[in-house]
C-alpha cells in the first residue's frame, strides 16, 4: 500500500533522528526497548478505511503529515482553576517533567518513576511487561507501537496500598512545537489495594506558547491497573487547539472489588480517537464510563470501547452523549463481551446523540456478545435533534432561539457533566463549552 509506505518512510526518518539524539545512551535497556518496538511496528500496518474498528477515523489522512519529533518546551501554562488544589504532573511534548513534581506526592507515599528507571527495576518491570509485549500485534496496536517506538519520557505512577488521597492528581498533557510534530505520552497508573484517588487528565493548549498553532498529533497511552478494592475517579478533559489531533488509549485492568469511574469530555482538537479497553480480572468490580462530546466544524471524534467481562458478578455502565454540528462526524462503537463464566454480570450501555446540522454525521454501533445466561445486559442508542416542544416552551417565555438552543444543548450534556465531582473543573468546562446558562 503506497500510503502505508509513505507513512513508514516518515516514521523511519523520525526514528533515525531519535537514535542519533541518544548520544551514547545506546545499548541501554531503554534503547533496546525502542528498537524492539520499532521492529514490531514495521511488521504491522496502520489501519485503513476497511478496518472494521477504524473506518470512522481518517488514519491515513492523520498519518500523512510529515511529523517530526518535537523540541523541548521550556515553559507552559494552562488555565488555573480557582479553588482546585491538586498535585500536578506535567507531560510536555511527551516528556514527563519530573523536576516540577510536587514534594507532597512523595510525602504521601506516591512513587513516580521515569520509564527509563522503571525498565531497570525488576519489580516494576514485571508489572508492566505484559502491556509492552502484546501476544499478536496487529493493526489495532499500530498507535501503541508508534508510542513505544518514540518513547522518551513516560512515567510509572504507584499509589501505595490503602492510601486515600483527598486532592486530585492532575496530568497536564501539552503539545507545543513550531513544526509539525508528534508526541507520545505513556503512563502507567498502578493503584494499590484499598487505595482511592481522583486522577484528572487535561489535554489543553499551552497558553504560554510563543509559537503559532501548528498541526500536531498527541498519541497518548495510559495503562491503569486497580488492585483489590482500589478506587479511581478518572476525568479526562480534552480542549486541544484546533489543529492538533489526539489518538488516546486507556487500557484498564481491574481486580476484585475495585471501582473505576471515568468521565471524559471532548471539545477541542481536529481528529480525536478514543479507545477505552477494560479487562475485568476479578469479581465484584464496578466500572462506569461516561463521556460527553461536542463536535463542530470539521472535527472528527471516534469513540471505541471494549469491556471484557471475564469473571462473575461485575457491573459496567456506559453512557456516551454527543452533540454533532457543522460538518463534523462522530462514532461510537461499544463492545461488551460477557464470557461463559461471567454469570451475574450487569452491563448497561447507552449512546445518545444530537445531530444539529444536515451535514453532520453520527455512526453508532453497540456490540454486545453474551455467552453467559444469567446476566442483565442492555444497550440503547438514540440519534435525534433538539426537541421542538422544548424549544417552543423556552421561547414562549421570552428566551431567544439561539439562547434556547444553548440551554437545550447544555441540558443534554448535563446528565454527564453534572456528575463531575470536581466543581472548579466542571465550571471551567461549562464555560469553555459555553454550556452555562
Amino acid at each position: 500500500m503506497a500510503e502505508q509506505e509513505k507513512i513508514m518512510e516518515q516514521i523511519d526518518t523520525a526514528f533515525h533522528d531519535l537514535e542519533s539524539g541518544l548520544n551514547g545512551k545506546t545499548g541501554t535497556p531503554m534503547h533496546a526497548f525502542l528498537k524492539h518496538a520499532y521492529s514490531v511496528l514495521k511488521q504491522i500496518e496502520f489501519p485503513g478505511r476497511k478496518h472494521e474498528d477504524w473506518k470512522y477515523t481518517p488514519v491515513q489522512r492523520l498519518m500523512a503529515l510529515p511529523y517530526k519529533l518535537p523540541r523541548t518546551t521550556a515553559q507552559y501554562k494552562v488555565t488555573e482553576l480557582a479553588g482546585l488544589e491538586s498535585y500536578i504532573i506535567p507531560v510536555l511534548n511527551g516528556k514527563t517533567d519530573v523536576a516540577s513534581l510536587h514534594p507532597d506526592l512523595k510525602t504521601a507515599g506516591i512513587k513516580i518513576s521515569m520509564l527509563q528507571e522503571a525498565m531497570e527495576d525488576t519489580r516494576l518491570k514485571s508489572i508492566f511487561n505484559k502491556w509492552l509485549n502484546p501476544e499478536r500485534p496487529d493493526s489495532n496496536q499500530a498507535f501503541e507501537f508508534l508510542n513505544f517506538t518514540f518513547q522518551s519520557g513516560g512515567f510509572f505512577l504507584e499509589i501505595p496500598k490503602h492510601l486515600i488521597l483527598e486532592k486530585p492528581i492532575e496530568i497536564h498533557f501539552i503539545h507545543d512545537d513550531p513544526d509539525v510534530s508528534f508526541s507520545h505520552p505513556l503512563y502507567f497508573v498502578h493503584a494499590g489495594s484499598g487505595s482511592s484517588i481522583t486522577l484528572i487528565e487535561r489535554f489543553e493548549k499551552n497558553i504560554a506558547s510563543t509559537v503559532a498553532d501548528q498541526a500536531g498529533l498527541i498519541n497518548a497511552l495510559g495503562f491503569y491497573h486497580l488492585d483489590h478494592n482500589a478506587s479511581i475517579r478518572h476525568i479526562k478533559w480534552q480542549d486541544l487547539p484546533a489543529a492538533q489531533s489526539l489518538v488516546y488509549k486507556l487500557a484498564l485492568s481491574q481486580e476484585k472489588d475495585s471501582r473505576f469511574n471515568s468521565l471524559g469530555i471532548d471539545f477541542g482538537g481536529e481528529t480525536i480517537r478514543n479507545n477505552v479497553e477494560v479487562e475485568l480480572e476479578g469479581s465484584n468490580t464496578y466500572t462506569s464510563l461516561q463521556a460527553g462530546f461536542l463536535a463542530q466544524a470539521r472535527q472528527s471524534m471516534d469513540h471505541q470501547t471494549r469491556i471484557n467481562h471475564k469473571v462473575p458478578h461485575c457491573e459496567s455502565h456506559e453512557l456516551y452523549k454527543g452533540i454533532i454540528d457543522g460538518q463534523a462526524s462522530a462514532a461510537f462503537n461499544g463492545k461488551v463481551y460477557v464470557h461463559p463464566d461471567a454469570q451475574k454480570t450487569n452491563a448497561y450501555q447507552q449512546n445518545d446523540t444530537l445531530v444539529l446540522s444536515p451535514h453532520a454525521v453520527m455512526n453508532s454501533k453497540p456490540q454486545l456478545e453474551i455467552f453467559a445466561d444469567d446476566v442483565k445486559c442492555s444497550h440503547g442508542a438514540t440519534i435525534g435533534q433538539l426537541d421542538d416542544k422544548s424549544m417552543f416552551y423556552l421561547m414562549a417565555r421570552g428566551i431567544s432561539a439561539p439562547a434556547a438552543r444553548h440551554i437545550l444543548k447544555a441540558a443534554f450534556l448535563a446528565q454527564v457533566l453534572d456528575s463531575m465531582e470536581v466543581e472548579p473543573l466542571r465550571d471551567h468546562i461549562r464555560s469553555r463549552m459555553t454550556l452555562d446558562i
Binding site: K389, F392, Y393, M395, S400
Partner: protein
C-alpha cells in the same frame, strides 16, 4: 378604545386538517374571557397560535396585538411583548434547573424592557416572594424544569412564571385541571391578584367551578373551531347544567 387583542376570521390547519374555522374575538384591556368547549374543539390550538407555535398553518385571518400584526412576530418577541401561555401540558426539560430557567426568563424580560438584570440575591428574593404567594414548595427550584413534577406542581410552576413575568395577555389553558381544591383556590387568587385594567386573561377551562373564583367578563363556547356562543358567567352555569348539546349554530346567545 383600541382593543388589546383582535382576532379576525382566523382559519388554522395542521397537517392539512382544518382546526380553527373562522375565529373572531376581541379582547380589551382588563377583561377576562373564559373559553369552554368540547375536547378537540381547538381551544389549545388557539392558545398555541397566539403564542406562536410554528407547527400550525395560518390559512387566513389576522391577529392584532396592541395594534401590531402578531402573526409576523417571533415566539420570543411575542412573549417579551406581553403574551403569556400557561401550557395545558407544561414541557419537562431534564438537565435545565428550574431556578436557572426562572432567572433567565426574568432577566430576558428585564433586558427587553431596558432594565438592569437582577443579581443573584435580588433574584432569589423576587422569586421567593412570588412562590410564597402561591404556596409553592421551594424545593421545586432545585429540580429540573417540570421534570417529574406532579400535575399540580407543573400547573403551579406555570402560574409562578406568569406572576414573575407580569404579562399583558395571559392565556391559561386548563390550568385548573389536575389541581386539588386548595390549589385551585390558591391559583385563582394568584390570577385575581394580577387582574388589573392593564392586563387581560383568556381562561380555558372545562369546569364552571374555576369561574366561581375567577369571575369572567365573557364566556365563549368553542366548537369545531368556531365560537358558537358568547355570554356572561351565567352561560358557564348553564353549560355545567345542560352540557353542550343545546348549542347549535344559529341559536347564538351572543349578547
Amino acid at each position: 378604545m383600541k382593543p388589546l387583542l383582535k382576532i379576525t376570521d382566523l382559519h388554522v390547519s395542521i397537517e392539512g386538517k382544518k382546526i380553527l374555522n373562522g375565529i373572531n374575538l376581541t379582547i380589551n384591556s382588563g377583561e377576562v374571557h373564559a373559553i369552554m368547549g368540547p375536547n378537540g374543539s381547538g381551544k389549545s390550538t388557539l392558545g398555541n397560535v397566539l403564542a406562536g407555535r410554528e407547527e400550525y398553518t395560518i390559512e387566513s385571518g389576522s391577529i392584532e396585538f396592541e395594534g401590531e400584526d402578531l402573526l409576523s412576530m417571533d415566539i420570543d418577541q411575542r412573549a417579551l411583548s406581553g403574551i403569556f401561555l400557561a401550557f395545558q401540558y407544561p414541557v419537562e426539560i431534564p438537565g435545565v434547573s428550574n431556578s436557572n430557567f426562572l432567572k433567565s426568563i426574568i432577566n430576558a424580560k428585564r433586558v427587553f424592557q431596558g432594565l438592569p438584570e437582577l443579581n443573584a440575591l435580588e433574584m432569589l428574593k423576587y422569586i421567593r416572594s412570588k412562590m410564597i404567594a402561591i404556596e409553592m414548595d421551594e424545593n421545586l427550584l432545585k429540580r429540573s424544569l417540570n421534570d417529574g413534577f406532579s400535575g399540580g406542581e407543573k400547573k403551579r410552576n406555570e402560574i409562578l412564571q406568569m406572576t414573575l413575568l407580569e404579562p399583558k395577555m395571559a392565556i391559561l389553558d386548563e390550568t385548573d385541571s389536575g389541581l386539588d381544591i386548595d390549589a385551585l383556590r390558591i391559583v385563582a387568587e394568584g390570577v385575581n391578584q394580577l387582574r388589573s385594567p392593564a392586563r387581560s386573561f383568556i381562561v380555558v377551562t372545562h369546569y364552571q367551578r374555576l369561574l366561581n373564583y375567577i369571575i369572567p367578563d365573557f364566556v365563549h363556547v368553542l366548537s369545531n373551531g368556531r365560537i358558537l356562543a358568547t355570554g356572561d358567567k351565567t352561560l358557564a352555569e348553564k353549560l355545567e347544567d345542560q352540557g353542550y348539546d343545546w348549542i347549535r349554530e344559529g341559536n347564538s346567545v351572543t349578547p
